[in-house]
């Protein structure tokens, strides 16, 4: 199986479940419901949604956000622990000097 097929085999059923169980019951008003749920998070919105309802409606965004948090923290951690080979550049510079002497000896430009 190709990689995008493996991804789709997980994401498409999950997204279909979301559409069927959560968006469908809301009818064609679902964009309004999503906007309302988002606004509820920041303390506004024209109807009150409980926490459970907010999470249910915004679950795909939640998954993306969690993924983003994981990515940023992993990158931050690996950048902080990135190994700096300080002696490697000093080593190569001394070896460059030695090599140049050797090239002079062998009469290579």
């Amino acid at each position: 199986m190709l990689r995008y097929q493996r991804f789709s085999a997980v994401i498409l059923p999950a997204f279909s479940c979301y559409c069927y169980f959560i968006l469908l019951p809301l009818g064609w008003h679902f964009p309004r419901a999503i906007a309302n749920a988002l606004l509820n998070l920041v303390g506004g919105g024209w109807t009150y949604y409980s926490w459970r309802e907010c999470i249910r409606i915004l679950s795909p965004l939640l998954v993306v956000a969690l993924l983003g948090i994981y990515a940023l923290s992993d990158i931050a951690y690996t950048v902080i622990t990135f190994n700096d080979c300080k002696d490697a550049s000093a080593e190569i510079e001394t070896q460059v000097a030695e090599a140049k002497k050797e090239m002079k000896r062998r009469k290579i430009a």
Binding site: R3, D84, C85, M103, A109
Partner: protein, 282 residues
């Protein structure tokens, strides 16, 4: 006594053809020694090296002699052979390559001349035609990769029995010299994305310092369509998808090109497009 031994020797020589055999054996031995002493094949090496290093160069007039010197310091000149693929550099790299070949011997160095900058993938493929050894090493010729790691690759391969050993900057003591935080973040960010989408099981996907078994190269390299950084990624992904075993060894990558920003928006977009293509086709 003498007649008996005569008859015995006659019968044995007739039955075994010993007399006819020994002169032939003698001439065979003589011809092998004379070939060893008088005629090393010019330009293609003696074909006895276990490991071939393919070194594509373009405008590496300064770095190429240093690379060859480092090879002679860390590697045995009989077990290793170098194929320099020279793409008609304007700075005279070809002259330097030929002088190095004269100095170190055609048994150690082969110079493959091409008409122009035809790309890394085609450089590897043209050199692959000349490879006779069972193992091939690919690396950069700009001194970012240090030949001292090659024996470590070799011992890793012999102790683990894997098909490919790849140098990693992110694990096993590997690292980078001369990178600022911005460069590190871009490298790790790109690697995270590639790892997430392709999940190859290898920590450093864009690394180009690797030891391969020659049949693996011959099978995989003609299939590669990507360019640039994505080329190395595609190679690794296809090798793993084909079921070959890959091990990693930490290397230090020395970036001596200070201040030169090679990562513009065009490169980033090219990388993302190549990554997406790999995600969709492998």
């Amino acid at each position: 006594m003498p007649p008996r031994s005569k008859s015995r020797s006659r019968s044995t020589s007739r039955s075994r053809g010993a007399r006819s055999k020994s002169p032939a054996k003698a001439t065979k031995k003589a011809s092998v020694t004379s070939t060893k002493k008088s005629k090393p094949k010019v330009g293609l090496g003696s074909g006895k090296a276990e490991y071939t290093i393919i070194l594509p160069v373009y405008n590496e007039r300064e770095n190429l002699p240093i690379m060859i010197h480092l090879f002679s310091q860390y590697l045995s000149l009989t077990d290793y052979h170098v194929i320099i693929v020279e793409d008609n550099s304007p700075d005279g790299t070809r002259e330097v390559a030929k002088q190095l070949q004269n100095s170190y011997g055609a048994d150690f160095i082969t110079v493959l001349e091409r008409e122009g900058k035809l790309g890394l993938g085609s450089a590897y493929l043209s050199a692959l035609h000349l490879v006779k050894s069972p193992f091939v090493i690919l690396m950069d010729a700009d001194l970012s990769h240090h030949p001292k790691f090659i024996p470590k690759f070799v011992s890793k391969m012999s102790e683990s029995g894997c098909d490919v050993v790849t140098g990693t900057r992110y694990r096993d003591g590997g690292g980078v010299a001369g990178w600022d935080t911005r460069r590190k973040v871009m490298s790790k960010g790109a690697n995270f994305l590639a790892d997430f989408l392709l999940s190859p099981g290898v920590s450093d996907l864009t690394g180009s310092f690797r030891l391969y078994k020659t049949p693996v190269l011959r099978e995989i390299f003609p299939l590669i369509v990507s360019k640039g950084y994505v080329f190395q990624m595609e190679v690794m992904v296809r090798i793993i998808d084909a079921g070959y075993k890959v091990e990693e060894v930490g290397i230090s990558f020395v970036d001596r090109i200070y201040g030169e920003s090679k990562l513009g928006a065009g490169e980033v977009i090219g990388y993302l497009k190549g990554l997406l293509n790999l995600f969709l086709t492998t």
